[in-house]
Symmetry: C2
Subunit: 337 residues, 2 copies
Amino acid sequence: MSGYPQVDALAGQIRSGSVRALARGLSWLEADTPDGDALVEALYPFSGRAHVVGITGAAGAGKSTLVTALTRLFRASGQTVGVLAVDPSSPYSGGAILGDRIRMADVGSDPAVFIRSMATRGALGGLCAVARDAVDVIDAAGKEVVLIETVGVGQDEVEIMRLAHTILVVSVPGLGDDIQAMKAGLIEIADIHVVNKADKDGAHRTVAELQAVLPPTSAYGWTTPVLSVVASTGFGVSDLATQVTAHANHLRATGEWQRRERQIAEFRVVKLAQRLVARRLTQPVHSGGDLANDAFDRVADRRLSPRQCAETLLSYPSHQRDLHVRPRHSQEDLERA
Amino acid sequence: MSGYPQVDALAGQIRSGSVRALARGLSWLEADTPDGDALVEALYPFSGRAHVVGITGAAGAGKSTLVTALTRLFRASGQTVGVLAVDPSSPYSGGAILGDRIRMADVGSDPAVFIRSMATRGALGGLCAVARDAVDVIDAAGKEVVLIETVGVGQDEVEIMRLAHTILVVSVPGLGDDIQAMKAGLIEIADIHVVNKADKDGAHRTVAELQAVLPPTSAYGWTTPVLSVVASTGFGVSDLATQVTAHANHLRATGEWQRRERQIAEFRVVKLAQRLVARRLTQPVHSGGDLANDAFDRVADRRLSPRQCAETLLSYPSHQRDLHVRPRHSQEDLERA
């Protein structure tokens, strides 16, 4: 219970599986309102069960087709699936606006599959924050596998991948002389490498290049496989789905799952603290006058350094009401879990 | 005066125009050590005089060639120039490593021109922070125009552009059906649009497309021009340099310069406060035990929400020494410079 009847009602509908409620909840998150914050608070205790799989790689690597193919396989094995397609470079957002989503028409009409695309937001770091919260909400809605797909290989995408338990890095032959993923430091974060369009010239070379730079077997005993697939025909995708599930099982069996959950938690808290600080510093202060405003003026005039200013403002006592509205959970709500 | 003789010595050498000292100072910044922090503190009061010009646009738009051509023109008009080439997707950093820099050989040997490239850094948001500080240091070194060039059109690049007084967005014909800049929201932030390679097919269409989506004349009376250039031959670059200077004059005449300085100051302080918070939350706490560690565990177990955790940790009294350590350099270290 958040203490806000509207929020509690929507949270309840989302947990009971309403697709419309889930879509509405994600729209609240995208609108960046206190309602969205309260919804995440209400649903967070019920998240943490989904296997979150990140899929990244250069534009043109065929990630959307791969996600569709994987979704079909997870469905065939009886799992419910949520898909979150995140495109920091696109101004479009919503249910199924991205052109590639059209290919998902067959799985898109399956009520056990939820698909959502999210695009660029004005606020700095806003998209990544919304993606984090969206994963929780989809997770709390009961989806057993959540696939997060990002377009492009920038820092935004790497940050979003840090929310996943299992990271798939998709390469294709012929997109450039180098392995595209190397530039963005994706080689190190991959749990599974996928070479898509493996029927094209140069596929063997791409596989060999990836194998040559693979990190050694991890501390928890996982060796990153390099899998060849042709997402458009389904070739190799079954093996890939098996490896994705095997990775989740391996994480759980070795205790690495909990360690990653802990890492994700720390990452999220730090990023959220950063957002709260930005909000506190830039929103009008209700009491104490225009402390921050004056300070920014002094920085602009070189009478105060950015560092001195930041440290002074951080040490200034915060006012809870500037930061947010704090929701509350009721006992019943937790017992219903 | 920073209170640290070695930092003050380097700051003095930078202000008196030593190229070696400036290069060394920027290396301190890139190493992300307390040395660099103290150097920026020492030099900040002497910054704020340079006209900071940001140049962005899709890879392949010919930005490096354009920067070289502009540098020649600013030199011809008697101005000193600093160039900072920032590539978030490249693992290379240093004096003149990027291949395109080779074209700058003629201006690169001019002692009134300082050129530096900076590339990707491990820390999240680290590159942008370093770029901010680097601009101050180059500014304090007396460079009258500082050109910041970024590769790519992601959020990182947009953030870096927010440090500039004047933003040039470079497009080229034929890089795609749409104007590349539109995707990343660069249209709105451009003070001057440049269509490079204007001798190629489709240049007129690119110009027309940009003109069709231009924002109206700004509140301070500036109408964003769309200029056609051929950076490799110099065609149109003189007009461009004139417009860049005209924009600076217009900013100063209308008071917009001061407003932008204020915006830049606020943006910097907020970003710095965010870094300090991340550092405080993730570095070992010297007193008070493992408060943050326990809290992260509870978030991972869903006993505490990320928001509650972030707010609790932010309200915890900060210890100056957790935020940063003031640097100390040995005399030998400096003499080795």
